[in-house]
Amino acid sequence: MKMNKYVLIILLGVYLLCAASGLKAQQMLSGQLTDSLSGSPLLGATLKVLPQDKLYKSNKDGRFNFPVTGAQVQLLISYTGYRLKVLNLKSPFPATLNIAMVPSTLQLNEVVVNTGYQVVPLERSAGSFSLVSAKQLETQVGSDVLSRLETLASGLSFDRTEPFAPKLVVRGLSTINGPRSPLIVVDQFPYEGDLNNLNPNDIESVTVLKDASAASIWGSRAGNGVIVITTKKGVYNQPLKVSFNSFAQSSAKPDLGQIPTMSATNFIDVEQMLYAKGFYNSDYQAADKPPLSPLVEMFFARDEGKLTAQEVNDALAIYRKVDVRRELLDKVYQQRFLQQYHLGLSGGSAKQRWNFSGGFDDGRSELDAPNKRYNLLVNQEIKFSPKIDFRMNLAYTRQQAEDGKDGINTISTAKGSNIYPYATLSNEQGEPLALPRNYSLNYLESQQNKGLLNWFYYPLTDHQYRQASSSTQHFTGSAEASYRILKDLKFSMLYRYEKQDVQSTQLQQEEAYAVRNLINSYSRKATNGEIIYGIPRGAIKDDERSTLNIQQLRAQLNYQHQWKKGELYALAGVERRSLDRFSQSQRLYGFDQDTYTYGSINPLTPYPTWVTGSNSFISDGNSIAAGADHYLSFFANGSYTYLQNYSLTASVRRDASNLYGLSTNKKWNPLWSTGFAWNISGEDFYGLTALPYLKLRTSFGYSGNSNAAQTAVTTIRYRGSSLYTGYPYATFNQFENPELQWETVGMWNIGLDFSSKGNRISGSLEGYRKRAKDLFGTYPVDPTAGVGASVTRNVAAMQGWGADLQLNTINTKGKLRWESQLNLSWYKDKVTDYYLPNVQVSDFVGSVQPGVSGLAGKPVYAIFSYPWAGLSATDGSPQGLLNGSPSVNYQTIMGSEAQLSDLVYHGSAIPLWNGAFTNRFAYKRWDLEVALHFKFAYFFRREALSYSSLYNNWEGHPEFAQRWLAPGDEVNTNVPSLVYPASISRDIFYAGAQIQVEQGDHARIQYVNMAYKIPLKQAPISQLQVYANMANLGILWRANDKGIDPEYRYSNSLPPMRSLSLGLRANF
């Protein structure tokens, strides 16, 4: 039996540094390692000698010299960025071995990819991966990791078509209504905690698993792609290394001017008109005293003789010049600050390696809300014997955040988040002024001397009486032990415990508006005139706690075997994973901070409320919830490589989960994939010297998408207890649907990896197609069926196609080194099946936020609009087309008789092209990096003026100023005339008209990073770098001429502001 049959593949060649020397010499083996393209010597390459299992390194000239025993040896040579070389040598050995190493891929720093289950050399993988190294992450600043990936990983993008949190997307959609987010894996296990817990400085690499072959090992949760984050580890045989990084970042005040609103003077004109029409009469009389603007209150006072016309006109003149955004910017908003410090220590001996790091982030938001983060990370790997090694990893994060001031979106009123533009927050003396929040100011004034607490809301100072803080503690502890049962068979057990504990506390003092409002609402006057409080006076203290406990256990067998011509790698295992959620919140009324006492309320008796006198219960503010997700999975994965040129891979996984009530045969969901890779440049016939590396790979497989919210039996949900009967009560949660299936996504991928001579041009080009079937869709049901308006069924199917190009070039070498990286992704999808019972054109036009079109043959998110026929010359009404001629019959244009062919189809709401172009310049000690990011070929619908929203919700729009006023204006404007009463269908038609659709194409400067290495003379510091980073520099080019940033186009989402960071990085 030949010993060299059992070869240990060097998986982490990049980190394996050998310190062996001074061995007994029997026969010396010497030679030189060079780059096959440039011929330059390779320093620090690892040479492994088998069967002795010794490691050596090449010196600075690429030379090596070491003793070997025996007549036959195998030499495995690995070097970062180069293909593994295997040499079988027989005695007598040649005097000098000249070995040319072939560069492996475009990636300069990576040859391995981490799938979370194994570390695979990219070379023998047939899957599709995007790799991002720590070095690449370093050129951006900020406290989170994922946002940095946008310019770095091809095929990954952030979807900003919806307001607020952007959604991370890997290669477009794989589902229509199911969960969208990719699975995030941190060091071998899915991560369930808050992703902001992760400190970017602790990240060694990020691998995006893009195709089925790469991701299917993760089974039913991998349908949307997988992002594997690997944290930094120590290095064997390395003396203590210390690294330090710190920066300070400051961002400009938010640009409130971006919020579409109308001028005070226009708004006042509208209010005057509405008042004259009696629009406010019912609100004025209403028993619940809804808020009115101060001006409307003055009009009523004037007409009741309480104010003179002169007094009203004086106030009007002042109000006309006010813009509440100015005062907010001045008195409320500030610059945003962030400071970050990170210290890392690492080292290793022959038997163990370790890493320790600590981080501290200290930030303050534009609303003066402080937030802090503390990170600790410890890991260690010990080799107890050649057969047994042990790893452990501990990570602890604490995030602390407090609430800040009331900003423009939190100064809410009964009219939603809108405020009239002439709102004033303080008077000339700087004293805070009240704004109407729940009730009319006039009414509150009339209640002032009735013994109640002050009932006014002062937005400038209210935050002083509320202390809200939350603290997130996150801990992961993992241990892995592996035992080599046979030379080529290894068994490992992995366990991870993850716990996240979020505690939030809010103490609202009696002076806080919310408390005063609540106490007053439940106050009533006794017959003797005294006030009786339903809610005890004093502060209100809310405490909330939610915990996540995750336990994951995995047993895995790894088998590797090498023959003369082929290698087999296989793994199989079983995994058990449980996630338990618990949350509880409680409230104390009448809390006294000095004595720690509290009062009590009676939640079971309805109290008459002050304003309307209607009965209402006082909420006890308590709640509790718990739940669990359980998964049990079996998986296997294998690859066989023949002659180093042909690799065949396969993987299979079966998941079972506790999705409620699914019958047992549906709990198990098998998913598989297979792939093939061919290293063309390794063939004898291959003679393209200009392109020394060329690899073709293809894969196909299925991954799934589980949605715990979909079940197959009728379930009910308990909703607490009836206040009337005292018994628990419940509603239906889900209606029985025996036909419900898991969603599956089949994906086919083909890719070409290449690099030119000297790595001047390298990269990969990939194409893929995915077919998703059995997708959940909302299926409208007959309202007579009794199960609401719609149910979820497997009604939809979709197809997606795409291509990812990653191109790295070295444009100039020498004194000025200029490198470019282009990530370009093309993605297109279409619905192939969707159940639509009746086609109503208005469903396809939808709202500003794009919705699922659900139209076979069209993109999942498609933008349609009503054809526009200009404004009517007679009254300035928006006109559509009815039977080819201009019409204002909106009911018919948008009604059930209208056909889809009557609509204008623009295109996809999701960009077809998505990309980033990064240029790096190095000159002497200077480094400059500029990253551009762009999205092309998509459409969006902009927000339009709606008279009904303006009248009812104070929702203005700047285009009001351009509205049609007189015949002839229709030549110059498309903004409809003001009408009263507002016609909702007129507003809806105008909002959905062709003219509101804009092309979303744009390019922006994502960041500019400049670094300078400070020259050092023999100091203990090995490297000292200072850097400056500018981010969110804004739009470079956009297709729309309205000045709208297509990615931050919603009036309630403010774009991130320009930021400047200065930092320092040092290594000892």
Binding site: F279, N281, S282, Y284, Q285, A286, A287, M493, L553, A555, V574, R576, S578, P608, T612, G613, S614, N615, S616, A625, A626, G627, A628, H630, A656, S657, N658, Y660, A708, V713, T714, T715, I716, R717, Y718, R719, S722, Y724, T725, Y727, P728, Y729, A730, T731, F732, F735, E736, P780, V781, P783, T784, A785, G786, A789, P837, N838, S896, Y980, P981, I984
Partner: protein, 448 residues
């Protein structure tokens, strides 16, 4: 050996798979497999007891809208106000959908009961749950047919359209509209089953009881113009519960003078209040206001005066601005009085009216009715129904059935100077079925 133990230990960590996978993903979820679960569904009052059909009151004649208020309403509400022949409901309108959701709940409860064994220990609770489900289904069908069907007439009931009678939880099944006869028969079957299974009095005014079922049976027969059982079921209720509130004891200056869950209430259910009827919008019909005598306390207790001198409805038995539509003692007196009057028991009828009205007028000022002939007495009962049962979900049905019986009540609206008229027995008294129910359910709309 050692290896074997390790192996066994590892295997056991992954075993017990059935229990592991049977864990509930959310502790608050359950399948209906106990009487408590079924009761919990029936106890969810925000759905079950607060969604009585309200669009009928929005169509009726107790109120009017000013031009400005009408203009501010959604188009569907404007159309309802003007008795348009179609397009009355937005797709998300609740009246129809939530009524059928409640019927689904009742059906789900009844189906779940088939899987639960009735034993001597649980018999009372079992029957109670069954009775509540029948009550919910029966009264919901009744309110649907009052609104979307024409007035019941013995001669034509088999030809006229009723409502779809969904009696199981299979939501894929297409159920056509039954005729009026079948619909009323189903209502009576359900309510009689309820009165059989339910306890005499419920342990909460939000749950059904025999009294409640009888009250609904009285309403059913009254709307069919079958007066003898209408009176006798009302009588059955009054034999057990007949306390009337004395309005002299109430503080008419209060925002809501009548307390919630008061002694007159047999079961507290509420209308799904149409936006049109909100206190600040709906102004009370001036002839209705004028019909209250000076010593009638109801004028001050039910209404408040707006700044423009019009009247707004404060609300009555809900203790707040929502509209009570449940069974209460005052209505039972009126039902019995009408039944007596129609069947010739004139003195008994007058006694009932006097009992009720005595408590509605200032102490010592009420002059009892006497010696009225049948026609005048019936007219008086009808007038008192109008004055007592404001926004109780009954007025539309009353107008319909009286017109079907020969009364000549013509409804009128005036908007922007134009008058809109609804003549007696107009087909539009069966209002238009929501479009999505027509399109998705494939059912027949009311003839126009």
């Amino acid at each position: 050996m050692k290896r074997t133990y390790i192996l066994l230990g590892i295997l056991s960590a992954f075993s017990s798979c059935d229990k592991f996978l049977a864990e509930k993903p959310d502790a608050k979820l359950a399948v209906i497999n106990s009487l408590e679960d079924a009761q919990a569904l029936l106890d969810y009052y925000p759905n079950v007891d607060r969604n009585d059909v309200g669009v009928s009151e929005a169509s009726a004649d107790s109120y009017f809208l000013s031009d400005a208020e009408w203009a501010r309403r959604a188009e569907s509400d404007q159309r309802i106000y003007l008795w348009e022949k179609d397009q009355l409901f937005m797709p998300d309108s609740r009246d129809w959908r939530q009524s059928y959701a409640n019927i689904y709940t009742a059906n789900a409860v009844l189906e779940s009961l088939k899987k639960i064994k009735r034993t001597t220990q649980n018999a009372l609770q079992y029957d109670n749950v069954a009775g509540q489900a029948h009550l919910l289904r029966g009264r919901t069908f009744l309110m649907l047919v009052w609104t979307w069907g024409l007035a019941y007439d013995e001669q034509t009931a088999a030809q006229n359209l009723g409502v779809p009678l969904r009696l199981n939880t299979n939501f894929n099944e297409k159920v056509p509209r039954a005729n009026l006869e079948q619909t009323y028969q189903q209502v009576i079957d359900d309510l009689k089953a309820a009165s059989k299974y339910l306890p005499l009095r419920g342990n909460s005014k939000l749950r059904g009881s025999k009294l409640v079922a009888w009250g609904w049976l009285s309403r059913t027969y009254l709307s069919q113009r079958v007066y003898e059982p209408a009176a006798s079921y009302a009588d059955s209720v009054l034999q057990v519960q007949n306390t009337l509130l004395d309005y002299n004891q109430l503080n008419s200056a209060a925002a809501f003078p009548i307390p919630e869950l008061n002694a007159e209430i047999v079961m507290d259910t509420r209308l799904s209040t149409p936006a049109t009827l909100a206190q600040s919008r709906a102004k009370m019909d001036s002839t209705l206001i004028l019909s209250y005598a000076a010593n009638d306390l109801r004028k001050k207790i039910y209404f408040r005066i707006n700044t423009d001198k019009s009247y707004a409805f404060k609300g009555n038995y809900a203790g707040g601005p929502t509209f009570f539509s449940g069974i209460a003692v005052d209505e039972m007196y009126l039902n019995r009085a009408e039944g007596f009057a129609r069947t010739g028991l004139l003195q008994k009828s007058m006694d009932d009216l006097n009992t009720l009205l005595l408590k509605r007028h200032s102490t010592g000022t009420y002059v009892p009715l006497q010696n009225l002939n049948q026609t005048l007495l019936i007219e008086r009962v009808l007038e008192e129904r109008k004055k007592e049962l404001i926004f109780r979900g009954l007025r539309w049905m009353d107008i319909k059935r009286w017109n079907a019986g020969g009364a000549q009540l013509t409804l009128k609206r005036r908007i922007n100077g134009q008058e809109y008229v609804l003549l007696p027995n107009d087909l539009r008294y069966a209002i238009a079925i929501p479009q999505n129910a027509l399109e998705l359910g494939g059912i027949e709309d009311n003839p126009r």
